[in-house]
Amino acid sequence: MFKLKELVQMRNRGGSTTSSGGGMGGGGGGMGGGCYTYPDAPATIGRVTPDVSFNRGIYMNGSMQMDDGNSVRVWGFTDGGGGMGGMGGQFPSPAIRVTEGQIVHTNLTVNGMMWLHTIHHHGIEPSTENDGVGHYSFDVDGTYTYQWKAAHAGTYFYHCHTNTVLHAEMGMYGALIIDPPEGAGTLFAGGPSYDVEAIWACDEFDSSWHNLNWDAGTCGEDVGLNTLNPDYFIITGVDGAQSAATNPAVAVTMSQQQTLLVRYINAGYLAQRIDFGGLDVEIHMSDGRALPQPETVTEIQSVSAERYDCIIKPNSSGVYTITIEYLDWVTDEVIGTAQTRITVT
């Protein structure tokens, strides 16, 4: 398998067989270029008729409007195949939601204008070919069908795993939810039920990274991807400076008689500390697995790509401010915050 990949990789670099550690020349940009990529779109091994399927294309010309008036370029997955790059798309990318036990097809189409990308279903553990990691299998060039079975209910997310350091930062991710056989409204079989659901994917942007080409750095050029200096702090695609406090896509309104499930995803690279504004929070799951016993907390510290499923049963009405602090990876100092609210009537 690797022999084939090496040939493809060499072809991609213009047939050079003299690849070396440094100084291979710039990565260039646009649709070509790139080093150590493995374009392919093989047939799916053991393909069967799925229980549910999703089509994903690519957009690379999206933008996110920030509270300070600036807009920042984002990339992502479209709902539907293709994606010609002229239409933009939603950020985060559209959710994938399935039921435990289903066989799922995620059909990813990447055309030559949008090279190169994959989908890694983070926390889902399929075969090598369906894991979506370029250098262990291939980066999708054409259409590939990722086939997997949803074994465990819980909260996951999917993201691009090509030049991941850049592509995930650019926004190429979306929520992935597996409901138990009981359906939405129950976290997992035998687990708690809920009336209101929020998905908080908390991320940070270093806007200086957001003008790079898809293959930036892959040939060894120093493009600064070792240093993240974020200037925007985001909850599920909404600026956490002001908008997320009231934007109904993020902020929660519920009655005191209801139970809230917060599916919290650390979608950034920095550690985060989420403070629930004085509310007691029962953690029932993390990373798609039920805890042996739920734990009651008032804040959670997480690192990149962790998920926590939090059940909240407010004791009293009021407006609770939820604060996500983003922590420096050396000092743990707070270098940014995002806020939203839970309003209990």
């Binding site: 060894g220 990373d287 798609g288 690192v303």
Partner: protein, 352 residues
């Protein structure tokens, strides 16, 4: 004046050593990881004993350069297996509760260093050119780090560190008495490397620039991928190095003792299986959670986890073989020299 003379002398001496060590390191790069403590596959092997024994081990504090994937030579120091080698990290030690350790440290450099296991032993100063033998008994099972705590954190970051494990008495398959069990075990020692800081350490200065790591290592190496000339080179490619690459068949439950000597907090992400999270910073957890992503504290933080080598649960059709990554998910760590995605802190998990 005198101080400058000494400094100049040391620089000349150090320069000579660097040239020699670099040549010898390159030449003997593979020899550094071979020892009686390591099995033929490079992972830690252990046979339980009914009685405690005395373990003798000598480390030589040496230095030299290690070439990075982008061509930059970075200065390191190590607790090495011989005066002509540079081992970063040091060869790990595995002992059993009740054992007596006689550790001799030979400082071949001109600078003062130490050998410390927090809560177990502290050598105090070992002057340049001096040696010291430490005798101590180990009583508490678990995972430890030995390191040089002088000039903190610089000497530790420069490479003077290694893993130290104490097995429960008479046990071959537990982290601590009553823990979940395993059939094989590894040490992963991780580090964040700022070459500017390493160069300041080389000349005896205290780094003054903000910490800006450009290389991220697991047992001193980082990842190579298909198409790169060092791909599959066990001395250079952490995906193939025998002390990092997890190899097992279904059922080969594997203990990984992760020690983070670096300054950065990290996210550890396993593909293909969730791990059982047994301990953090040496403390057993009251509940064992199953996680695909874990919070690895910085500054000598640690995790002990078991990778269960179960059939990947979401594969359809089911599979029992394959290759998958373990990588840090704070993805800056997946770069080298500001680019080179895929050449960072990662290794391969092989279901054979």
């Amino acid at each position: 004046m005198f101080a400058n003379y000494i400094k100049d002398l040391n620089i000349k001496k150090l320069k000579d050593i660097f040239i020699m060590k670099r040549r010898e390191f390159l030449k003997f790069g593979t020899a550094g990881v071979a020892s009686s403590m390591l099995g033929s596959l490079g992972l830690l092997t252990w046979v339980p004993r009914a009685h405690a024994i005395t373990i003798n081990k000598t480390y030589y504090i040496t230095d030299g350069f290690v070439a990075q994937v982008d061509g930059q030579d970075v200065y390191f120091r190590g607790f090495s297996n011989s005066s002509g080698a540079l081992n970063v990290p040091a060869e790990p030690i595995i002992a059993q509760q009740g054992d007596t350790l006689n550790i001799t440290v030979v400082n071949t450099l001109g600078t003062t260093h130490s050998f410390v296991i927090d809560g177990v032993v502290d050598s105090g100063n070992i002057a340049g050119g001096a040696s010291k033998t430490l005798s101590f008994t180990v009583n508490n099972a678990g995972s430890y780090l030995f390191y040089d705590k002088l000039n903190a954190p610089y000497n530790r970051l420069s490479g003077l560190h290694g893993g130290f494990a104490v097995m429960p008495s008479g046990s071959s398959n537990e982290l601590y008495d009553g823990s979940a069990t395993f059939v094989q075990q590894y040490f992963w020692v991780t580090n964040d490397v700022d070459p500017v800081w390493h160069d300041a350490i080389r000349v005896g200065d205290t780094p003054t620039t903000p910490f800006t790591p450009r290389y991220f290592t697991i047992n001193g190496r980082n990842m190579r991928v298909p198409g790169h000339p060092e791909y599959t080179n066990v001395d250079r490619d952490s995906g193939y190095a025998t002390d990092t690459r997890l190899v097992g068949s279904v059922g080969d439950r594997t203990l990984i003792r992760i020690q983070n000597v670096g300054l950065c907090r990290h996210s550890v992400h396993f593909h293909a299986n969730h791990v059982e999270w047994l301990a953090v910073n040496g403390a057993p957890r009251s509940q064992v959670w199953k996680k695909d992503t874990l919070n690895l504290p910085n500054n000598k933080g640690s995790l002990d986890v078991i990778y269960p080598f179960e059939s990947p649960p979401d594969a359809w059709p089911p599979v029992n073989t394959g290759h998958f990554p373990m990588h840090f998910h704070d993805e800056m760590t997946q770069t080298a020299g500001g680019g080179f995605y895929q050449f960072g802190l990662a290794t391969t998990i092989e279901f054979k």
